[in-house]
């Protein structure tokens, strides 16, 4: 099941925990993967670990020109682009009253605007191919909100609305656009939380534990597969029951 042989997938934020797991899962199903991220060393490391069918495509998602050039580079490196996973994200947390416009703008730029740019860049080849999968990694906080994350929550909620709109427009061309909304997943991003914050969070998770990056990757793999061709405009929540949406 879920055979992606012959498909080419571009994953942003592949140097991070969730992105690395997503790239590994897609690669494991037979896809050629383009690993994008700002830090080249971990991307090279992952590419070496994956072996064949892995290409390193560094990109700073805060740089509009670089983002616009990325889909083309991916096509040149891989020979096609069938699956786009917008996973990269940054946080600049602060109480709303103390949140600077710069923190707001940076998070919106990297998390939402770069996603829009990449979607725009890949829709063209996907329309021609009459097949495509766009999977945007949103977040539970896009639905629930979270103190200290007005910028991040806005960007992640924006991603859902944008994905649904694109999904409408391209559904007739065999392209699906979906979101995966992780809850609390054990990664470098959640490692920054202190013990009090962690135990507070665990009390709110019916499953009683944080999620694993592999559990997000499995959701992405499903949405990327031919079997999920009738699923579009959806948000798949993977959060241990923390919010049943």
């Amino acid at each position: 099941m879920f055979d992606l042989t012959g498909k080419c997938a571009l994953v942003t934020g592949a140097s991070g925990g969730i992105g690395g797991a997503i790239a590994t899962a897609l690669h494991g199903a037979g896809a050629t993967v383009g690993l994008s991220g700002t830090r080249t060393a971990p991307l090279e490391e992952l590419a070496t670990a994956l072996g064949d069918r892995a290409h390193v495509l560094p990109c700073n998602l805060g740089d509009a020109e670089a983002v616009n050039a990325l889909p083309k580079q991916a096509v040149e490196a891989m020979g096609g682009l069938d699956i786009l996973v917008n996973n990269a994200g940054i946080t600049r947390d602060n109480l709303f009253m103390r949140m600077s416009e710069e923190d707001w703008a940076q998070v919106l730029e990297v998390n939402l605007t770069s996603t829009m740019r990449l979607c725009k860049g890949v829709v063209r080849p996907m329309m021609k191919a009459r097949w495509g999968r766009i999977i945007n990694i949103s977040s539970i906080v896009g639905s629930t909100g979270n103190p200290g994350q007005a910028n991040y929550a806005a960007a992640k909620a924006g991603m859902v609305g944008m994905s649904k709109s694109i999904a409408y427009e391209v559904a007739s061309r065999g392209i699906t656009v979906n979101c995966v909304a992780p809850g609390f997943i054990a990664t470098a991003m959640t490692d920054k939380l202190n013990d009090d914050q962690k135990s507070g969070i665990l009390n709110q998770i019916p499953a009683g534990r944080m999620g694993e990056a592999d559990e997000i990757a499995a959701a992405v793999l499903y949405l990327a597969s031919p079997e999920a061709g009738y699923v579009t405009g959806a948000t798949l929540h993977v959060n241990g029951g923390m919010a049943m949406l």
Binding site: R124, M127, K128, E169, V170, S172, R173
Partner: protein
């Protein structure tokens, strides 16, 4: 009919699945040939590829009929 018109007609016929004789000078892609808005975007993409030209978005919006397309492409070449 020019070579450009023939090539444009061929693309329109293939893409929209219409009869060749329906693709006349004033035939509107949307009103007469059954295209939806996404089809018009795809037609422009196909024209760009066929003729090796770039059609900016604001110009693409002015291409409503078969005749518009042929005129635009001739000028752009």
């Amino acid at each position: 009919m020019s070579d450009v018109a023939d090539r444009v007609r061929k693309i329109v016929v293939e893409h929209l699945g219409v009869e060749e004789d329906k693709v006349v000078e004033n035939a509107s892609f949307i009103d007469d040939l059954g295209a939806d808005s996404l089809d018009t975007v795809e037609l422009v993409m196909a024209f760009e590829e066929e003729f090796g030209i770039e059609i900016p978005d604001d110009a693409a919006e002015t291409i409503q009929t078969f005749g518009d397309a042929v005129r635009f492409i001739k000028e752009a070449q």
